[in-house]
Amino acid sequence: MTITDVVGGRRVEVVRGVAGLDREVWNAVVRAAGGSVFHSWEWLAAFEEAPPGVFEPAHQLAYDGDRLIGVCPAYLVHHCPRLDRIAETAGIEFGGPVLLAHSLAAFVGGPIVVPDHPEAEDVLMSGLADTATALGAWAWGAVNLPAGRLVGRLIGAGYATAQVNTTYLLDTGHASVEDYWSTFRSKHRRELQRERRVLTQRGIRIAESTPDVDTHVRLVHGVVTDHGASLDVLPEDFLRALHRHLAPYDRSLTATDLSGDAIAVFAAYEFGAQRSLWLAGLDVDRLDSFGPYRPMLVTAVESAVTAGIPRVNLGRGNPAPKRRVGAVAAPLYLALASDDRARTALLHAALRELERDGTAHEDVGNGCC
């Protein structure tokens, strides 16, 4: 499906799966746009291969002539456990599939565009609305949009919105690890150093490495179930597909015990100028609390500083230790629209309720990622 002349002569092409995307061209635009692993071709490939729900890809590509100037991954969502949970909390029943850009599983969604074509954001959102109509979607929109002008423009255009997540970002553009440590208050610095010593004394070692996929799945599922969340948000096949597809970008941290067994993991991926700590995993049979959590956070930051990565996304949930290592909260929004005034009013009421409730994103976020 190709839609032309959406805005100012720009062209939007809709591609119904990663097989129709040129991996190199797509990823080059994501990098140029400052995007993270969650917009990468490989993430989308894994999602398509083993989706945590029922999703039909409908990715939007904006062109200026023959040049790709922006991308917006999107899925026609027929079933998504995370979206279902949000709908339940908000007290709304979607009357059909929702075209969403792109997934609650990702830390960030929505359109991203090359710096010299900021107008492509609106082109892509306009294309998304057209595609929604063409596909018979009940509603459309974007999820986990970072606070910013696009969110403002969508609200101004009548989209129903709610903050559904908070992620924690840390600027890591320090000249050295010592510079990073100097940003701490001395009391906090001593606390963190003591926690590290305690781990060392217990024979626990933190290193940049990835456990085998079976261990990875076991540790991640351990945390999910320990938080009382359902595994349907992170099914095993999905984790395995991501483990394989994202291997080139893997910067995971693993904590091992004296016998060399992995007891905790941070699944981290580096793409473009950002490192993202996506999931945490823990051997809940051997550790009754996530003791290595803060030392692992600090190690992740030190690693990014050393590698010259300017920003680390520490992810959702568990805010206190993230604040302690210097991260700041970054709200993420869900924005939904429809082509019917009465239906859009329902969306507004539902998302207002969701924001008033204030727990939906904590359940989804803290329990899983």
Partner: protein, 393 residues
């Protein structure tokens, strides 16, 4: 028996609106939670509903609409503007757009929308977890203003100069999402507007006096604003662009703008007639009753106008410099333009106290500023408001 062919309107409002509607020969469905008895007697259909339950309210009003179609739904209460927009959208009748109502109700949304449209507002950060407020304030740089994103109703903003102030403000607000804004220094103005089918008319521009302390209470207004015709026009254009960005289609608004170092900065939009005695002031100096205008716009009628009866107004809030027990000469209450919210013997707090604020208003009208000042002083001298320090404080 003749059929009732009066236009029919549903509203969430108080006595003033009910009186206006009665004078306009409009069939009134008054939504209340519950409807006060005195108002229920004046409305054609008092409807007691849980206003917090939008679906139930929609069902109840929808049943009435099915039998006798409504023309519009509206509210003049901040808390119920989104509900009115929701009901209008769900029933397919006239009313302020739900998106605009929500954009005015939620201060974080307001900031995001204005940013997205390039309308100047204070630099800001939204925090969902109060523990993120201090880092956000440090990131923006002190001083900052902390606001509740919803439900503040004019009392949810505190100026903070350091981390300790932020911690106090967070405790005062008691949880919920917060907006952390850079403090904007500069004179403040209040602008009254009427928007019909997305076209906004500026009714007047008032200079607003803001008090000291963390709450920055309103202390008074002057008309004209002192900005001159060109200044008023420029400020009006700025407000028109802001309301357009917020999706304002049909309604009246009371807008507050500060002129900062880089020009006008939008502080707040209330999608309703102004409070206090500002409706009366606007009627005197601009010939428009903003409450009646809100009804006219809701019903799709031309806004009623008459000739202004004064060219200048001086409006001063009654506030105090210390806490204690208030006293004044009650005979002065018979003077025109004197309105007090406290009685002798009531306890009051100073203007710079978070619990304090305005306890009344003195408004004088005329055509010459020196005479206004003399009239105001005469009223003040006869009222002699005073505070006796109380040991309780």
């Amino acid at each position: 028996m003749a059929a009732d062919d009066r236009p029919s309107i549903a509203c969430v409002s108080g006595r003033r609106v009910v009186d206006v509607l009665a004078g306009m020969d409009v069939r009134t469905v008054l939504l209340g939670d519950p409807t006060p008895l005195d108002l229920a007697c004046l409305a054609d259909v008092p409807l007691d509903v849980d206003l917090g339950d939008w679906k139930a309210t929609e069902a109840a009003l929808g049943a009435l609409h099915h039998v006798r179609p409504l023309t519009a739904v509206f509210s003049v209460f901040d808390a119920h503007l989104p509900l009115a927009g929701y009901l209008a959208a769900r029933l397919g009748i006239r009313g302020l757009s739900l998106a605009a109502a929500l954009n005015c109700d939620n201060k974080a949304r307001m900031r995001l929308v204005l940013d997205g449209a390039g309308v100047a507002g204070p630099a800001h950060l939204v925090v969902n977890d109060p523990a993120d407020a201090e880092p956000a304030a440090r990131r923006l740089g002190y001083p900052v203003v902390l606001k509740k994103t919803v439900g503040a109703r004019g009392r949810g903003a505190l100026v903070c100069h350091d981390d300790a102030d932020v911690a106090r403000a967070v405790t005062t607000f008691g949880g919920g999402a917060l907006l952390v804004e850079s403090y904007v220094d500069g004179p403040e103005y209040a602008i009254q507007t009427i928007t019909v089918d997305g076209v906004t008319e500026v009714v007047n521009v008032l200079a607003q006096h803001v008090g000291p302390g963390p709450r920055q209470p309103e202390l008074g207004y002057d008309y004209p604003s002192g900005l001159g015709e060109v200044g008023d026009l420029a400020l009006g254009e700025f407000v028109v662009s802001a309301l357009h960005a917020l999706g304002f289609d049909d309604g009246v608004a009371h807008v507050q703008v500060r002129i900062g170092a880089d020009g006008p900065v939008l502080m707040n939009v209330a999608a309703r007639p102004p409070g206090g005695q500002l409706c009366a002031l606007t009627e005197r100096v601009s010939g428009v009753d903003m409450t009646r205008a809100a009804v006219d716009v809701a019903l799709g009628l031309p806004v009623l106008r008459h000739e202004p009866t004064a060219s200048r107004a001086l409006y001063r809030c009654v506030a105090f410099g210390q806490a204690g027990v208030v006293d004044y000469d009650v005979d002065a209450l018979d003077s025109p333009g004197v309105f007090l919210d406290v009685e002798p013997g009531d306890q009051v707090h100073p203007a710079d106290d978070p619990r304090g604020g305005s306890y009344g208003r003195i408004v004088v009208y005329g055509d010459e500023t020196p005479q206004l000042l003399r009239d105001y002083q005469a009223v003040l001298d006869s009222l002699r408001p005073r505070v006796r320090p109380s040991r309780m404080w």
